[in-house]
């Protein structure tokens, strides 16, 4: 037979259970509240996307109808654009050497030494090398002076006298230049 009964022990257990119950209730309320709000937001988003999708479908149909009406032209223009852009791309890799050769001659023309051009090399980046041969030293100096003129140098991105050679017995003075010509419209 028990001598004493602890009347508070049962009560303490009940209090703890009630405390957890309160937490649980509060949590479920909040979850429900956020759930409802989130659900409403999702519904809104869903309907917005549905409407947007239907607009996109209309747009797609319109474009499709337009393209279908111009079906033949569409094939032709795609073919044209493709080949034309290739043509331009390939032409861009062309050195257009003769055009630059004529350009160089026009640059040299005021010096009267056009006929002294011995060789001419150019690539598609307008990197150029050329040589001039003249029969006298004075003539060679005059040409060098000419190439130092501002108007002449303006035609080049860079220009250097690579060599100045004298051929014995033949009285030939050869000047070799390297540089880069400025781009011209071909």
């Amino acid at each position: 037979m028990k001598k004493r009964i602890n009347l508070f022990s049962q009560r303490n257990e009940n209090q703890t259970a009630q405390k957890y119950l309160q937490y649980g209730k509060r949590t479920t309320y909040w979850v429900l509240l956020f759930g409802v709000l989130f659900l409403m937001a999702l519904f809104g988003t869903y309907f917005w996307f549905n409407r947007y999708l239907s607009e996109l479908k209309n747009k797609k149909d319109t474009y499709n109808r337009y393209i279908l009406t111009n079906k033949e032209f569409n094939q032709e223009i795609k073919h044209f654009v493709n080949k034309f852009s290739l043509l331009k791309t390939y032409l861009a890799s062309d050195a257009a050497g003769y055009a630059y050769y004529k350009h160089l001659k026009s640059i040299i023309k005021p010096s009267g030494a056009v006929d002294t051009i011995d060789s001419f090399t150019i690539n598609n980046l307008q990197v150029v090398s050329f040589s001039l041969s003249v029969p006298s030293y004075d003539e060679a100096l005059r040409i060098l002076d000419f190439f130092e003129q501002k108007e002449v140098l303006e035609q080049f991105d860079s220009l250097v006298l690579e060599s100045f050679d004298i051929t014995e017995n033949s009285n030939s003075y050869t000047m070799s230049f390297n540089g880069k010509l400025k781009h011209i419209e071909k």
């Binding site: 759930g35 032709e76 852009s85 032409l91 011995d118």
Partner: protein, 207 residues
């Protein structure tokens, strides 16, 4: 065995309301997840539609921007472009182009060889040895781009004035299938201008 009291306690008003809310929460969460999944699906669908529409818009703009200028003569322009850059390449096409190059410029092609290192899938690089008087060689250097009936380009030229009877000349001829769009071109941006048409017409005169 579970005591009856405990079972009764489970159905106690308080427990029941919490249980109900938990149930509702679960239903809500399941529904929210389902709806989220649906929204994601519809979002993906719109993205895919947007991409399709972008392509269609590009095509439509290409038609719209160029129709007035090109509609009447586009077939003949395409014929010119196909002649310059054919869809395929054969040995006989190249020989025929070289013969035309000779005939049109009055030079003689003594020999030719293929530069394998420079040749690619769409470009055939050839090294030509050409002979002829200076004026015909200069005519060739001036007109090689289209006078063979094909597009010919040259990436580097060396011209020696003292020895103009014979020159070495490296050329490129091209072919490309119409099904392979040029990766360097942005179709949406392309508006063919009057100058482009004049350019094609000027090529036509040189072919």
């Amino acid at each position: 065995m579970v005591p009856i009291n405990k079972i009764k306690a489970l159905f106690n008003k308080r427990y029941l309301s919490v249980g109900l809310f938990i149930g509702l929460d679960i239903v809500f969460l399941v529904f929210v997840s389902y709806l989220g999944y649906k929204v994601y699906g519809i979002y993906q669908e719109t993205r895919s539609f947007e991409q399709e529409i972008d392509q269609l818009k590009t095509t439509s703009l290409l038609i719209k921007n160029n129709k007035n200028l090109l509609q009447d003569n586009i077939s003949s322009y395409n014929d010119i472009l196909d002649a310059l850059i054919p869809d395929g390449e054969t040995y006989f096409q190249v020989i025929s182009a070289l013969e035309q190059l000779e005939a049109r410029n009055g030079v003689r092609i003594n020999s030719y060889s293929i530069n394998l290192s420079e040749t690619t899938e769409e470009k055939m690089s050839l090294s030509l040895t050409i002979s002829g008087p200076q004026n015909t060689i200069e005519s060739l250097l001036d007109n090689y781009h289209y006078s063979s009936g094909r597009l010919i380009t040259n990436e580097e030229i060396t011209y020696s004035m003292g020895n103009t009877e014979t020159i070495s000349f490296a050329i490129n001829v091209f072919h490309s299938s119409s099904d392979q769009p040029n990766p360097e071109s942005d179709v949406a941006e392309i508006i063919i201008a009057n100058e482009d048409i004049e350019f094609i017409q000027s090529i036509q005169e040189k072919l």
